[in-house]
């Protein structure tokens, strides 16, 4: 299992796309921090990168990679290896290399320029989002054999999580604005890893505004040790559930 993971990581690292992704993140982070004279504003600009670019690259790259290595996977399956292990190590390799790319590209500039609780939480959320979207990509890739369809599904999923979901939330908010929606909002935020990550970062970044009416509820919940642990747990669920579903599907799949 380790061997396969190692091979996958080595293969990806040799791939120029991930290298380009790392360099891209690196340049953007340094530009952002050097352009703004205060680190908080730099982090704010980086927030959009973390919440939009990182999931997009992770999901698209992972989907394409899984399709491109279908022959390699078939070869592995013909060996005396458990399918589940093959799939998990493929996931580990992809998640490991993409989070490494994120860590080098954005994490190191954050550590250099904005070593604060806000910076650290942003680093952590970026890593989580990289891994979660690799997991979702694996699920998208295992659903269909058709590469174009698979990439389409993953892009749609990205669009859903980064844009459509928030639109739906806004819609619900205005449709049911006569009802107390503070607690349902907590639940809704757990249904989208990008939202959850954003809220956790904002709790450090915009703490004054979040002390207001609804913000206070987020603050009371996620601001406490228990709430924060629950949030991290939800993030872990967002990793495990797609991986588990896709592994199950992969085990039964006729390749």
């Amino acid at each position: 299992m380790k061997k396969i993971t190692k091979y996958v990581i080595a293969d990806i690292l040799r791939n120029k796309i991930v290298l380009a992704y790392t360099v891209f993140l690196w340049i953007i982070s340094f530009t952002v921090f050097n352009l703004e004279n205060n680190a908080t504003k730099g982090l704010l600009s980086l927030l959009n990168i973390v919440l939009i670019i990182v999931p997009l690259v992770s999901i698209v790259f992972a989907t394409i990679y899984v399709y491109n290595s279908s022959e390699f996977i078939e070869l592995l399956v013909s060996q005396p290896l458990q399918r589940k292990k093959i799939w998990i190590s493929l996931f580990a390799g992809l998640a490991g290399s993409l989070s490494l790319a994120y860590f080098v590209g954005a994490g190191i500039p954050i550590l250099i320029y904005a070593l604060s609780s806000t910076g650290l939480i942003m680093l952590l959320m970026g890593l989580f989002l990289s891994i979660i979207f690799v997991a979702i990509a694996m699920l998208a890739a295992v659903i269909t054999r058709d590469k174009a369809k698979g990439i389409g599904i993953s892009i749609l999923l990205w669009l859903y999580f980064s844009l459509l979901f928030d639109g739906l939330v806004l819609f619900i908010l205005f449709q049911f604005q006569d009802y107390p929606l503070e607690k349902p909002m907590l639940l809704l935020s757990g249904l989208n890893p990008i939202d959850l990550g954003r809220i956790l970062i904002l709790l450090k970044m915009d703490v004054s505004a979040l002390m207001g009416y609804t913000g206070a509820i987020f603050k009371d919940f996620f601001g406490t040790g228990i709430g924060f642990s629950i949030a991290l747990l939800v993030m872990l669920v967002w990793i495990f559930v797609p991986v588990w579903l896709s592994a199950r599907r992969f085990c039964r799949k006729d390749l």
Binding site: I199, D206, S208, A209, G212
Partner: protein, 401 residues
Amino acid sequence: MFAATNGWAKTIKVGKSEAIHTIQQAIGQALSGDTVLVAAGNYAEKNIIIKKSISLIGEGYPVLDGEHHYEIISVKANNVLIKGFKLVHSGISSMVDIAGIKIYESRNVKIIGNKLDDTFFGIYVQSGANCLIMDNQLTAYSVTEQQAGNGIHCWKCDSLLIFNNQISGHRDGIYFEFVTNSYISENVSEHNIRYGLHFMFSHNDDYLNNIFKNNGAGVSVMFTHGVKMIENIFEDNWGDGAFGLLLKEISDSYVYGNKFINNTSAIYMEGASRIKMQRNEFSNNGWGLKIQASCMDIDIAYNNFIGNTFDISTNGSLVLNRFDHNYWDKYEGYDLNKNNIGDVPFHPVSLFSMIVEKNPSAMMLFRSFMTTILDKTERILPSLTPENLKDNYPFMKPLKL
């Protein structure tokens, strides 16, 4: 009364080693114009009532104990001076306003350099005039509003000077009702349960160089005209109902050179009119200015808005106020002729702040991709945000304040 002026005034000493042991006794012997000098020690003398124009001076902070039951000093005469005492444990009552020191319908009373600890109301001025309250420290430890009194409470007074007092743990730090022509200056009011300063029907008062920090609901100024608020600091007032400064039904007033830092809302304005708001600094607040559509003729100029989550929010489309000549760190325009004034107007109200105003739960979507897109499109083609709420001459660089 002539004794006070013709030099016949005498000094009566009170203390364990003196002939007179109790303050009550000394006051009984004193005539108007005399000085009662109290040595250090513990004095539990129930309610001390001063009905003569005397000076009551403590040496080494003698302790006056109200035993959780009495009002400690009641002043019912003009020209009284109370200086250098430590007043502890006044009574608490929901029927009468028991205070550490209470002034009843008197003029020219001076309360200087006392320490009040665990009193219900601290210093209470009822129908006073020309009084001076200076260098006092007032501390209370109340938990609920019902069990708490105000630090310095002034009712129906004129020409007071409240200077350099430290107030904490009361219901309202300083409370003004029907008080006119007074100064509140260089006080520190923090950690009070409700307001740092509470101000109603008090016309033509000035407050300068005060610090209001971490109070339950900040500072509130209501139903008043002619107030000058100059160079105060409003800091760390957090919570949904908390405002750095709440202006309700205020007119003809100045807000000048103040600093608003780290508040949930720095200023909340409702029904205010003819106010000049200049050279203030708004930094790291949740909301810089919440200005309701019921305000008119507010002149907001030469202020710095730095690092606020929302600079301005409002609840309607009617704008009768001016926002020109400010610095906004969110301004993204350009300055071709390099005169330090941006060439395109700045719209400080974002669409998202309007959404949050209507539906507070939408705060969940703050800084999300979608709301960012909505905000950008709104900036280009304003449809929901008030189009007239704009700064036509925004500064490119922060002003030096």
